[in-house]
């Protein structure tokens, strides 16, 4: 059971991008999200596009998969594009349809915004494609760990996320089983009146809730039996230690940003 689109789905190829420290990758994505909105020069877009494509190739994941994965966002991109085209009243008028007049400024802004969003989504999807969800959680936990001092439950939050991730496939399987069982008892999830479909969903949700509660109960017992009593005084098996490749990646990324600043000014 795999979702039909690839957003957030990890694909293992063992490339150098996969092996980078998740913290490095997270920080890079954060910085990218920030700077991409400062880009307003054609060369900046060329620079970013080249950068993103080089990284994508380095992941060894087929480009068509990556693009297929971000397709659902395409609709959103188109929508933003048209919104800008229609709402902007700058530059020369290009054509008029009824009450609407389209200006060159609108088209340019539309393209700019779409390209920015596209780059952003593309780069972020590279993070999730090359980093297992658990590594992202680890990276976040480590990056946010200074917040522990001011009483933010960073460990508990990370554990919560990791347990959620761990049980997603289990719950998907469970949903599949229960919906099959109810379908065998004559439920039709696809057609019927709104009321009968709502009832169909209830016949799926209640068993699912009950089983999730039972699992949560069992899991809590199992964790307690294995000596879990909160984040205090625990050690952690997952060590994140920066490797040579991480430093190299940081330097390359820094150079890219310097180049960007140079191009912009």
């Amino acid at each position: 059971m795999t979702p039909s689109f690839l957003i957030g789905q990890y694909i293992s190829t063992g490339s150098v991008i996969h092996r980078l420290d998740p913290r490095i990758k997270l920080v890079m994505v954060f910085i990218f999200v920030f700077i991409v909105f400062f880009a307003n020069h054609l060369y900046s877009y060329v620079l970013f596009s080249t950068f993103v494509i080089v990284v994508a190739l380095a992941t060894k994941i087929r480009l068509s998969y990556i693009l297929k994965g971000i397709m659902p966002v395409g609709i959103f991109l188109l929508f933003t594009f048209f919104l800008h085209v229609v709402m902007t009243n700058e530059g020369q008028a290009l054509l008029t349809i009824g009450p609407l007049t389209i200006y060159t400024g609108g088209v340019i802004r539309g393209i700019e915004i779409s390209v920015r969003l596209f780059l952003l989504v593309f780069f972020t999807s590279l993070l999730t494609l090359t980093t297992p969800p658990m590594a992202i959680t680890d990276g976040l936990e480590k990056l946010l760990s200074p917040l522990k001092k001011v009483g933010v439950p960073v460990h508990e939050f990370a554990l919560m996320v990791s347990i959620t991730l761990r049980f997603i496939p289990t719950l998907m399987e469970e949903t599949d089983k229960i919906s099959k069982a109810q379908a065998s008892r004559g439920v039709d999830f696809r057609s019927g009146s709104l009321k009968s479909r709502a009832y169909a969903v209830v016949s799926l949700l209640i068993p699912l809730f009950i089983s999730s509660f039972r699992r949560a109960d069992d899991l809590a017992l199992a964790m307690e039996a294995r000596g879990y009593r909160g984040g205090e005084g625990r050690t952690n098996i997952r060590a994140l230690i920066l490797q040579k490749r991480d430093y190299v990646a940081m330097i390359l990324y820094g150079l890219m940003i310097l180049l960007f600043i140079f191009v912009q000014s």
Binding site: P133, M134, P169, E173, L221, A222, M223, R226, Y228, I237
Partner: protein, 276 residues
């Protein structure tokens, strides 16, 4: 000194409800292997949970190696008693095999070097080292139970507690866990307690406690239990084929020395006819 002792233990989940366990007393010696059997709902799983302090009795006391089980001692007790539960899915905490085995060690604040070492050793013991980076949804039920066992072994407990650990597995998974369990019994000095309704597994225990309606109905050896058909019927237990055939052969004047499997039975029959 005894390893596990129940002294007049009574337990129920809520007031006004019938007792799940009613004045239960027994002792399990160090390195002994004991099977707790009984019908569904007889209270046998409650005993396992009480031993590790997941439940507290309303009356009576429980001792693990002379140390009373209570709020203050449970964390220490839990590092000495390893419990494998019934449902393979619901006791897998980590996102990968490796993380899951690490979980208990992390809780005990074991230093990282030591952890790596212990995780590898325990995964080796259960024959799952090659699966260290697998995620739980890639594993069969039997494999998950092996990991659960490895997680417990990594903590190096003195008592190993199996609470119907094979009842949700297919025959293949059941057999692999049972074999592993027997091997651990031979190779390691540990006290073993199995809560089960699998009578095949009972054959390998030193002693059997039959639990019925919250009380210890019988405390005997597997052999004694299997000789009494009326007991087996009363508590809803199925007699293993080997034992039943051995009993029937005895009625035919062929007395054998408790064969445990087909090969032993055939070999004994062979020597029997030679010496007779």
């Amino acid at each position: 000194m005894s390893w596990i002792e129940f002294r007049h233990v009574s337990f129920r989940y809520h007031e006004n409800e019938p007792w799940v366990l009613d004045d239960v007393s027994f002792v399990v010696q160090s390195n002994e292997s004991v099977a707790l059997i009984g019908k569904n709902g007889s209270g046998k799983s409650t005993i396992a949970k009480l031993m590790i302090g997941l439940l507290q009795p309303q009356a009576g006391e429980i001792f693990i190696d002379g140390q009373i089980v209570n709020e203050e001692t449970i964390w220490d007790i839990r590092s000495q008693v390893g419990l494998v539960f019934q449902n393979p899915e619901n006791q897998f905490v980590g996102t990968t095999v490796y993380d899951d085995v690490a979980f208990g060690l992390e809780n005990l604040a074991v230093p990282r070097e030591e952890m790596t070492h212990r995780i590898e050793r325990s995964l080796q013991q259960v024959g799952m080292l090659a699966y260290r980076d697998r995620e739980p949804h890639d594993l069969s039920g039997g494999q998950k139970q092996r990991i659960a066992l490895a997680s417990v072994l990594a903590v190096e407990p003195k008592i190993l507690l199996l609470d119907e650990a094979t009842s949700m597995l297919d025959p293949h998974g059941t057999e692999s866990i049972n074999q592993l369990f027997r091997q651990l019994k031979r190779e390691q000095n540990m006290t073993h307690v199995t809560v089960t309704h699998d009578t095949e597994e009972v054959m390998y225990a030193d002693r059997v406690l039959v639990i019925d309606q919250g009380k210890i109905a019988e405390d005997c050896t597997p052999r004694q239990l299997f000789c009494r058909q009326e007991l087996l019927d009363e508590y809803g237990l199925r007699i293993p084929f080997i034992v039943e055939l051995t009993n029937e052969l005895y009625k035919q004047g062929i007395s054998l020395d408790d064969p445990m499997n087909h090969k032993e039975l055939l070999d004994q029959l062979w020597t029997f006819h030679l010496t007779e």
